[in-house]
Symmetry: C2
């Protein structure tokens, strides 16, 4: 725990550095509001903060910049989420008029977040496993190929191509559809698909193909990920190499999902630099918030920016968007 004055100085350093991206010297801090001591005193305190690991010096005769520990303390103890009026109005307006397909809405949500924060935004869609099935159907596409289509309660669709092996009559397909409907509708897809069966061996063969098709891809890459604002990363960093490696991460949906999930599972709302566990994100910070639909945690929203991000704003934006998105999806 830092004493009052050290805390004020650390806060001032972080805030200044976030704004200017330049190492900040004792002079600037001494003239900042909230610090009423001379630059010499500030220097002493900053030296102490440095030896405690909250600040670092790029080189001897430069100002200080916050370390990861410094940012962490800032986030945990020195600031609180805050969203300005226009931003919260923007959020309100967005969710008031949001409508249409769920995928479109989630994609638009990423745009909202990048607009609010000017960082890259990620939204992970509600997991399909949990959602109740409203309708299932088998549609013949080609003599030996059918499409299994399940409509979920939230308007999402789960589909799977079924290789039937041999030509199957329309009415067998219809019978299989009926058998599936009977057992699956109203429950979650993954859990109930095993229950469907039929006495007729031809129908049963089709059901078998459907079961395996649904099982194989389940939980694998069924998560829908929406990413937006990757171009903002280029604005946040000087080095092209940094931009490239961060973009590479953002392009890998599976990596992004596990990254966000991991952070949420650790109970964090911010992961700073190495806390992300990914070396290419050493200069990045990730702000996340899970959202709940009908009380159940089903997805995550987040923004990815430089470690010197505007944490109060990002935290507030992500929190309120997650909250609102959950509400919006809960009402159906």
């Amino acid at each position: 725990m830092l004493d009052e004055r050290k805390a004020s100085i650390l806060r001032a350093v972080v805030e200044e550095y976030i704004q200017t991206a330049q190492p900040v010297g004792s002079g600037h801090i001494a003239s900042a509001p909230g610090v009423q001591v001379s630059s010499a005193t500030v220097r002493n305190e900053m030296a102490a903060l440095e030896s405690d690991g909250f600040l670092a010096q790029p080189h001897t005769s430069a100002g200080r910049i916050p370390t990861e520990k410094g940012y962490r303390y800032f986030v945990d103890a020195l600031t609180r989420p805050s969203l300005d009026r226009t931003a919260s109005q923007q959020v309100r307006a967005f969710f008031d008029q949001a409508h249409g397909e769920i995928e479109q809405m989630l994609a638009d949500t990423t745009r909202l977040l990048t607009g609010l924060t000017d960082y890259a935004a990620v939204v992970i869609g509600p997991a399909h496993e949990a959602a109740a099935v409203r309708s299932v159907q088998l549609v013949s596409l080609a003599p030996r190929v059918a499409l299994f289509v399940a409509v979920l309660g939230n308007g999402a669709i789960e589909k799977r191509t079924i290789d039937l092996g041999e030509a199957v009559e329309e009415d067998v397909l219809a019978a299989a559809s009926a058998a599936l409907s009977e057992h699956v509708i109203g429950g979650p897809l993954a859990a109930t698909i095993a229950l469907a069966s039929a006495p007729d061996p031809a129908v049963e063969a089709v059901l078998g193909a459907v079961r395996t098709a649904v099982a194989t891809a389940a939980g694998d890459d069924t998560d829908q990920v929406f990413v937006n604002g990757a171009s903002r990363m280029a604005a946040s960093f000087e080095a092209v190499e940094t931009v490239r490696s961060v973009l590479t991460i953002l392009e890998q949906q599976l990596v992004v999902v596990s990254l966000l999930r991991d952070v949420v599972d650790r109970g964090l709302d911010v992961a700073i630099g190495s806390e992300t566990g990914m070396q290419p994100l050493a200069d990045c910070a990730l702000v996340v918030a899970p959202y709940t639909v009908d009380g159940e945690q089903v997805g995550t929203v987040g923004v990815l920016g430089p470690t010197r991000m505007n944490y109060p704003q990002a935290l507030a934006a992500v929190a309120v968007v997650g909250q609102r998105l959950g509400n919006r999806l809960s009402e159906g």
Copy 2:
């Protein structure tokens, strides 16, 4: 038209510059295979090529770099698409094992293209307008909300949230589904949706809602766009600012679609720099190829790289991938 020797020199300059990204001097060219004259002669020819607008000099005492006109001549007259063995095997292997959902396959196709070329890849999915409908269905999601689901012949799904205005009985929804099925199945969705009607006013009301919902969003953003390898842009350019503006373009799906469509419509397979018509792409070249399904042109594949891209390779890769993708989608 350039004489033989000027052509050889231009080709050598372009090839060298593509490889090294450095202005190339007369000495290098004179020692290149296919040019048997002294550097002095090369200098004379290069001066001529410059005054004809094929080459440019960054500054007086530097080598030459190709202009857009130089690249254009190179592409049109000095080179032919060529793909090395391993690359064509990669393509073959990919399409031999490609299977599953169409969206997944298209997304994987972008990955194939970035892998082949090391540039950003774009695939525009088959337009839904043309595809024959295999199945339509109305699924109730909430008391006043239904989901219209159409399964298309290629395995794609078109869906639309329907705001019913007031609560509608299950059986009315079923009747509307049946009426839709009757008129729409077998034809293209956009064209046949207007035909569906029913005597019962309650059912007709539902059908009206469906018609407007399908009509409003038709042809708007129904194109599926898949982009991959944006991080490669960062590797191609020095300036972060360039990377940022190109990324901004790639993030706007509508812009990407109209860009590719525009190039294809002009009958080009390559758009170089300002030929793209987009200022931020001044340093980029776009290689595209439309693909056909059952003889009809339904989509486009392309790669976006720096103007100094490997045209022979990119042209060949895009052409063969477009060809194979069309075949793959035609066989159903």
